[in-house]
């Protein structure tokens, strides 16, 4: 065997093992120790989905000749929504409950929550299977949830 051909698999193996070890140390193991990351599979899945979906979104936008917008809204839809919000804000917000102000106009509504001021009450809901679910909702608007 020629000397160069002899060293190709050796160098390839060293380079690939360096890449694999770098990947494993950052993704499979925790804090450069032999402890395995229990979230390894889900992390990898999420990263792959994010990477693929980002590329797909960009590609679809490219095909439509429009810039990619993560919200999915077109520029016109976003301008229309912002215009509707501005109109509602012009009219002024009315207090609905403690810490909640809201207003609506035509098909749009706008609600502002001041979370520190909101008082919460717990209501119970029993579903068709007899399971009891507990919800925390702002005090004073319980009737909306019944």
């Amino acid at each position: 065997m020629r000397p160069i051909k002899k060293y190709v698999p050796l160098i390839l193996a060293i380079l690939v093992s360096f890449l694999i070890s770098s990947f494993m140390i950052s993704e499979v193991f925790i804090a450069q120790s032999p402890r395995i990351n229990p979230y390894f599979v889900s992390n990898i899945k999420e990263k792959a989905i994010t990477a693929v979906m980002g590329k797909v979104g960009t590609f679809v936008a490219f095909l439509q000749n429009k810039p990619y917008r993560p919200s999915g809204e077109t520029i016109e839809e976003e301008a229309s929504r912002k215009g509707a919000v501005a109109k509602i804000l012009e009219k002024g917000l009315k207090p609905v409950a403690k810490g909640i102000h809201a207003a609506s106009s035509e098909n749009n509504s706008y609600t502002e929550y001041t979370l520190n001021d909101v008082e919460w009450v717990v209501i119970e809901f029993t579903d068709s299977d007899g399971n009891v679910h507990k919800f925390e909702i702002p005090k004073g608007i319980e009737y909306l949830y019944r």
Binding site: P9, L10, L12, A13, I14, V16, S17, F18, I20, S21, S22, M24, I25, F29, Q32, S33, P34
Partner: protein
Amino acid sequence: MYIGPFYFDTKEIFLILAIMLIAAANYFGWSIYWFDKKVLLTIVLLMLITKGLLPAIHNEAFFILALVTVFLTLYLPVFQVVLFYFISFVLFRLLKVV
């Protein structure tokens, strides 16, 4: 050279010497520039074990991997170096280097 029932070739003797020197440096507090003595000792021990399991015909591949591994201890955490060393052997086997 035979020590009891075991045969040691020159490279294995040198590895044992290296282990003795590093252990002495660690014990007496001699400084070894840039290298961490405990990391170096761990790696050389692993090398001695793998060298014992490898036929002498593959000394060249072992030598190159040993050089690269010792060099990498300067830059990488010890666990990554150990991973690198073992993955390299698996790939050597798969690529029929050894």
